[in-house]
């Protein structure tokens, strides 16, 4: 069901690898292979939407037409630190522990 109007629905293993790193997934060799085929097929399938005329149609991000939902600037109870850390794979009683974060922050 691939459509000529969409970007190429054939993904290469290099494409898939790039997406995997962006998604932080250490895919195995077998997974890379099967996902390349599967994603190509799925992307081809969903690509049929390019045939739908949406030139005058705005995107619908929320099914509701709701707006302006707020809360007051009032303190609520925080979690005890022990609860916050309870499910942490590694912690030192005060902080979460992760492999060293070097250099600058992740955001540009």
């Amino acid at each position: 069901m691939a459509d000529a109007g969409t970007p190429a629905s054939e993904l290469t293993p290099a494409d898939v690898k790039k997406v995997a790193l962006l998604a932080r997934l250490a895919l195995s060799g077998a997974e890379l292979e099967s996902l390349t085929a599967e994603m190509s097929k799925i992307v081809g399938f969903v690509g049929q939407l390019s045939a739908v005329d949406t030139s005058d149609v705005a995107p619908l991000a929320h099914p509701l037409d709701a707006q302006n939902v707020f809360r007051r600037d009032e303190l609520a109870a925080s979690l005890p630190t022990a609860d916050a850390l309870r499910n942490a794979p590694r912690h030192d009683g005060e902080c979460f522990l992760v492999p060293a974060v070097l250099g600058d922050s992740g955001s540009a």
Partner: protein, 501 residues
């Protein structure tokens, strides 16, 4: 009639009258779970001790005349996608094996305050992604009507639990049909409320603009009972509707005369199983006989529902599941590198390697597939062609429903193209699996309500489901229409003979 054969409505009356104790009730269902869960695998965790303690507390309060909640003493099974402080919340994923939330979902809080006895957490497709409950990291679920068949998904555990009499009430979640489709395949009743009708706080998010929590039970009346407790505004959920909750049970018996039900000819295309088609048509006829009128309506963009859904949902999911990275909770890679196999082995830093390997280990194949798809659809260069495009088609799909509801009150039709399929039948072809959602995704994309209930059985003894969809906040009408059908039919009362009595 044993306690597990009785409806929730019936049991509640008996509990309130003092004819049966909450402890006896809880024991009956817990015993049933113990007897059948090995086979069905509907429950991932069972809360026996705490459930009995709670039941005992409720009995004591009732006996001493203290006030008890509206569901007091009724056992309820909760899909393992909702946060519970006293039971693990795994979403059927290795990623959250053993995870204990420090807070209860809003729905869980409401259930507790209502006096419900939470008997356990039910199995599901991992992170709610799937249509057969074969994607669970903790084993598949078997359809109580035929143990070689799937119960549907992703709320397969909750559906099977009801169908096998392991609980009189269950909570499911529905993002593209995950309550309605398994309800259809398991011969029970399931409602996906209007988006925002039930709080999503504490519902582990799959696709935030589509997810809704809803009731599953043997009948619409029982669903109505459960809805009165779980529906309502939650200021802790910005997408929660600030609208009063109707007394759903009160109007169940109002006559249906004059009800206009739409029928979509395109629903009856080639892919629809003929036995399903026959039962669905019979259901339209039954409504006509009850005084409703049937009108042909069109949903011109319905065919685009599945691809639209499979762009929006994975995109949102790819973002919602980014938090599962082994840093603050959930599974973390233990540092052992697997053998080289042509996979990804180069990482920018030990931290990135930890993320990548934790997630690769923690997530199953369908979850990975959808994260990959969603990441791709949102990424630079593809956003407009895929995600943004899907959002536009979504508006068209919603408009189709708005237009149709100008002509009719509800739209009826199949909930699934086929009855329960065999386990393993669709697992090799993701697109084939995605098409099981054909009749249900539109409801979520438009944010409206839909209910599914049994309308017959195939020659092979498999349940067939009928779906009614209604405009936003039409739950009272949906429940009423389903309930009244159930007053003149007994499909919803039948029980599988595949399990011990």
């Amino acid at each position: 009639m044993s306690l597990t054969d009785r409806s929730a409505t019936d049991l509640l009356a008996a509990l309130e009258a003092g004819d049966v104790t909450a402890v006896a009730c809880a024991e009956a269902f817990l015993d049933r779970i113990a007897a059948t869960n090995g086979e069905i695998n509907a429950f991932l965790s069972v809360n026996r001790d705490q459930a009995l303690d709670e039941a005992a507390r409720i009995d004591a309060n009732r006996q001493s005349g203290k006030p008890v909640g509206p569901l007091a003493g009724l056992p309820v099974a909760v899909k393992d996608v909702l946060c519970t402080t006293d039971q693990p919340t795994t979403c059927a994923s290795k990623m959250l094996a053993g995870y204990r939330p420090p807070y209860d979902a809003d729905v869980v809080r409401r259930l507790r305050e209502a006096g419900a006895v939470l008997v356990g957490k039910t199995n599901m497709d991992e992170f709610a992604m799937g249509g057969s409950n074969e994607n669970s990291a903790f084993g598949l679920v078997r359809n109580p009507w035929d143990l070689d068949r799937a119960p549907g998904g992703s709320s397969g555990g909750s559906a099977a639990a009801i169908a096998a009499d392991m609980a009189p009430l269950a909570i499911g979640s529905d993002t593209g049909g995950s309550i309605r489709q398994p309800a259809g395949l398991c011969g029970i009743t399931g409602l996906k409320p209007t988006y925002g009708r039930v709080s999503r706080r504490g519902l582990v998010a799959f696709s935030s603009s589509l997810d809704q929590i809803g009731p599953m039970a043997r009948s619409a009346a029982d669903c109505a009972l459960l809805m009165e407790t779980i529906a309502g505004h939650d200021p802790g959920d910005s997408t929660s509707l600030d609208v009063a909750v109707p007394a759903y049970r009160a109007e169940l018996d109002k006559p249906l005369k004059g009800l206009k039900i739409g029928r979509v000819a395109a629903h009856f295309g080639e892919g629809l199983d003929p036995e399903v088609a026959e039962h669905v048509e019979n259901t339209f006829a039954a409504y006509e006989a009850a005084g409703a009128t049937i009108h042909e309506v069109e949903l011109p963009h319905a065919a685009h529902g599945v691809p639209t859904y499979y762009l929006i949902a994975p995109s949102e999911a790819s973002s919602n599941l980014a938090r599962y990275d082994g840093a603050h909770y959930g599974h973390r890679w233990d540092g052992t590198r697997p053998a080289e196999d042509g996979g990804i082995t180069e990482f920018d830093s030990p931290l990135v390697e930890m993320y990548c390997r934790s997630r690769a280990e923690g997530f199953g194949p369908e979850v990975k597939r959808r994260i990959m798809l969603g990441t791709y659809a949102l990424s630079a260069g593809y956003y407009d062609a895929y995600y943004a495009k899907a959002l536009r088609v979504r508006r068209l799909i919603r408009q189709d429903f708005l237009d149709a509801f100008e002509q009719v009150d509800l739209i009826g039709g199949p909930v699934s193209a086929t009855p329960a399929f065999k386990l393993g039948e669709k697992t090799d072809d993701p697109v084939a699996m995605y098409l099981v959602d054909l009749y249900t995704v539109g409801t979520n994309l438009a944010g409206i309500g839909g209910i599914s209930f049994p309308c017959g059985f195939t020659g092979g003894g498999l349940p067939v489901g009928f779906q009614l969809q209604g405009p936003a906040l039409s739950e009272p009408l949906l429940l009423r229409a389903a309930h009244q059908y159930q007053q003149t039919t007994d499909w919803h009362l039948r029980r599988s003979t595949a399990l011990p009595a």
